[in-house]
């Protein structure tokens, strides 16, 4: 791919991301579409997020209990599990699962609409495809991913509790009091802010890839794959950048 094509693609991506976000505050509002997308993204992802979060929390608690026991610091399991999950693992894990399910779905749905001339039909009818298709998906992602992250984080902490108390034989009271100690504004804000950005990135990347689909079923396959891969990479990079910025803003010393 030549440089001109890369710049042109980036320009198209930025325009779509900006206009998609702007559509939230500009008429016409496609509320029904946004609610449908929220149902698909939120309610549809609920159980898979619960399941993944539970096992991630349990695995993390297991690893930390083993290591901290060796150092004689088992009573800190709750604190370390809490900080890791609330600030980092909860938001990132939820975003990655969300990408695999919702991002791939968005990309393939829009891709098949492109191949079936449905997007052209919208344009012929004078409907802006970005407002009709992209804005509801952005809105649903930036609302549902934070909500799912809160639920996922809580379930991960429960998983951590189960391992700490029933496998590592620690006191449940100590575990929960450690968790309460880490539930300070700085930690909660650091974990709660990220999903908004992740949700926006996932929706924009997936919609852009979907709307760029060319070349039949093979093209659809590659755009869906590219949407998931690009979203995962961007989540990991954004997580690092956001962590760095948030630690600085919230006054943590590194």
């Amino acid at each position: 791919m030549d440089l001109k094509a890369i710049i042109s693609d980036l320009q198209d991506f930025y325009i779509l991301s900006f206009r998609g976000l702007l559509g939230i505050v500009r008429r016409p509002f496609y509320i029904k579409d946004a609610v449908e997308q929220m149902d698909y993204a939120g309610a549809g992802s609920f159980f898979i997020i619960l399941l993944v979060s539970l096992f991630v929390g349990m695995a993390l608690s297991l690893q930390l209990s083993a290591e901290l026991s060796r150092l004689g610091l088992k009573m800190y399991t709750g604190k370390v599990v809490g900080i890791s999950i609330i600030r980092e693992i909860g938001p990132v894990t939820t975003a990655l699962v969300f990408t695999g399910r919702v991002g791939a779905g968005m990309s393939s749905e829009l891709g098949s609409m492109i191949l079936g001339h449905q997007v052209d039909t919208l344009r012929v009818f004078g409907v802006d495809p970005i407002k009709k298709l992209v804005t509801p998906r952005i809105l649903s992602s930036i609302i549902m991913l934070p909500a799912l992250t809160i639920i996922g984080t809580a379930v991960s902490l429960l998983g951590g509790y189960y391992i700490a108390v029933f496998v590592s034989h620690q006191s449940g009271t100590v575990y929960w009091s450690s968790i309460r100690d880490v539930l300070i504004f700085e930690n909660v804000f650091a974990g709660a802010f990220k999903p908004f950005i992740f949700g926006y990135l996932i929706a924009c990347i997936s919609c852009y890839m979907g709307l760029s689909t060319k070349g039949g079923s093979i093209g659809l396959r590659s755009t869906t794959t590219n949407a998931v891969v690009a979203s995962i990479i961007m989540i990991i990079i954004a997580d690092f950048v956001l962590t760095r910025v948030l630690l600085y803003i919230l006054g943590f010393s590194v």
Binding site: P28, E36, G116, Q118, F125
Partner: protein, 250 residues
């Protein structure tokens, strides 16, 4: 009036049109013929501004659309009604909702009035019984009929555009769609039908444009098409085994 003035278009290394000149009147019944990849459907997309040419001008009713912004194209597009290949119905909406789509977007009609108009349109195209079905439950012929009903609901078009309306249909359904196309255009409305089925084109159109190698190889009436000695067209017609049928039917 649609005018293509030295229009050129390429998709990557593939040159679709090279200095294409064409003019089509509002009441003409035109069939655009040609093999796969010759740019038949692309002509419709250029007319609607869904694609922009690399060079040249496209003029619709005296307005040059080539450099118009997307937001300014709505007025131009409302002059046409298009039925895309395979129907292009919205998968997530029922037949009724598909047909009502534009009325809900742009009209102030009440739900009862929309329902009434939808039913009228579905009756016109002969699929009123399918109003509650989803697109995946429709047969190929019903799909096209619903798509035609939806395009009629869109606006009050000056001209109809049909992109391969009979492809993938059995001969009976294809003939029914051709009859419907003729009925809808009546005596005063023109249409452009893009197809590779010569028999269907001959049964509905009066003017025939044959695309080959990025240029117009032939532009004439039915008799001129059947009598032409251009080898590519003779081959195209004979290969499909339609010429004899057409000649015997007069």
């Amino acid at each position: 009036m649609i005018v293509f003035d030295t229009v050129s278009l390429s998709f990557g290394p593939h040159r679709v049109f090279e200095d294409l000149n064409l003019s089509i009147g509002q009441t003409e019944r035109v069939a655009v013929l040609g093999g796969s990849g010759e740019g038949k459907s692309t002509i419709l997309k250029l007319i609607l501004g869904l694609l922009r040419p690399d060079s040249g001008r496209i003029i619709i009713d005296g307005e040059e659309i080539t450099s118009k912004r997307e937001s300014a194209m709505r007025g131009i597009r409302r002059k046409f009604s298009i039925v895309f290949q395979e129907g292009a119905l919205f998968d997530s909406l029922s037949v009724k909702e598909n047909v009502a789509f534009c009325m809900r977007e742009y009209s102030d009609l009440s739900e009862e009035e929309i329902d009434q108009r939808v039913m009228d349109l579905l009756r016109t195209v002969g699929v009123a019984h399918a109003k509650e079905l989803m697109p995946e439950e429709l047969s190929g012929g019903m799909h096209r009929r619903v798509s035609i009903a939806r395009s009629l609901a869109a606006c009050n078009p000056q001209m109809f555009l049909y992109d391969e309306p009979t492809s993938g249909l059995d001969p009976v359904n294809a003939e029914n769609i051709c009859k419907l196309i003729l009925e809808l255009s009546g005596n005063k409305q023109g249409f452009i039908i893009v197809t590779h089925k010569v028999y269907d084109a001959i049964s509905v159109a009066k003017r025939f444009i044959f695309l080959y190698g990025g240029k117009i190889l032939f532009d004439g009436n039915r008799q001129q098409l059947l009598d032409t000695d251009i080898p590519e067209i003779q081959h195209f017609i004979k290969e499909l085994n339609f010429i004899d049928t057409c000649k015997s039917s007069g």
